[in-house]
Homo-oligomer: 118 residues x 2
Amino acid sequence: MTIPARIDPVTAPLTPAAFHILLALVDARLHGLGIADAVEQLTDGDMQLGPGTLYRSLKELAAVGLLREAAAPTAGDDPRRKYYELTDPGREQLELEARRLERIVDAARQRRVLQDEA
Amino acid sequence: MTIPARIDPVTAPLTPAAFHILLALVDARLHGLGIADAVEQLTDGDMQLGPGTLYRSLKELAAVGLLREAAAPTAGDDPRRKYYELTDPGREQLELEARRLERIVDAARQRRVLQDEA
DNA sequence: ACATGAAATATCCACATCGGACATATCTGT
DNA sequence: ACAGATATGTCCGATGTGGATATTTCATGT
């Protein structure tokens, strides 16, 4: 399973894959492939989760309690699907990581790397 | 040397290490360890470049022309130091990556992941 | 009802990235 | 001259990623 060594809430940089998965689950309960699709849309196609990264990440994120399996949102749903939802710690970590990225973008702004565009 | 496979300007996500190195060089000509220090300050200690990542990244970034070696800024400088400066393509790539990160942060904001703080 | 293709989950492997250990050379201060 | 700090560089093990592949189950057309 290779449980991630760092659950340390202070340093804890989430992997890009983990971050995007959690972000996709903020306001929607989704299943594996639904998450992959959501992530792709969310990033304008920049981030494409292969099945390897996708299911490994889901397994590990569930193992450390940042998300959990959840019941299907609708009744007659495809029973093969496994739905996931964010946990409270998951949302915390997501927020931490988002702030970390925000600081990076701010640093780039301070150095005028992001020019204004039309 | 393992020249990076992707110099593709469209998709081109810079590695975190490469991004921070280029960012550190935006308004300062620095040498290797100086870059590592700058990156650590820039990220509030989040990102610490080990010598492996540092010198490997510098070599590869120079090889693909995103930065170049430059003369020492001051005269009586430690001759062991190798200074680096950004190239125009380097600044372009930096800007692209910064924008990519900005989009991610925006997505997080839209989903109200970043709560206001005091 | 049945065959066919799509959807969904899951595993395996090869590759890229990373950080620390280690090595070597040179500078600085006492 | 000596000791410790500074600086660059290489090597290796650990981690993260994506594609190929496998397997099962669902949905669709005839």
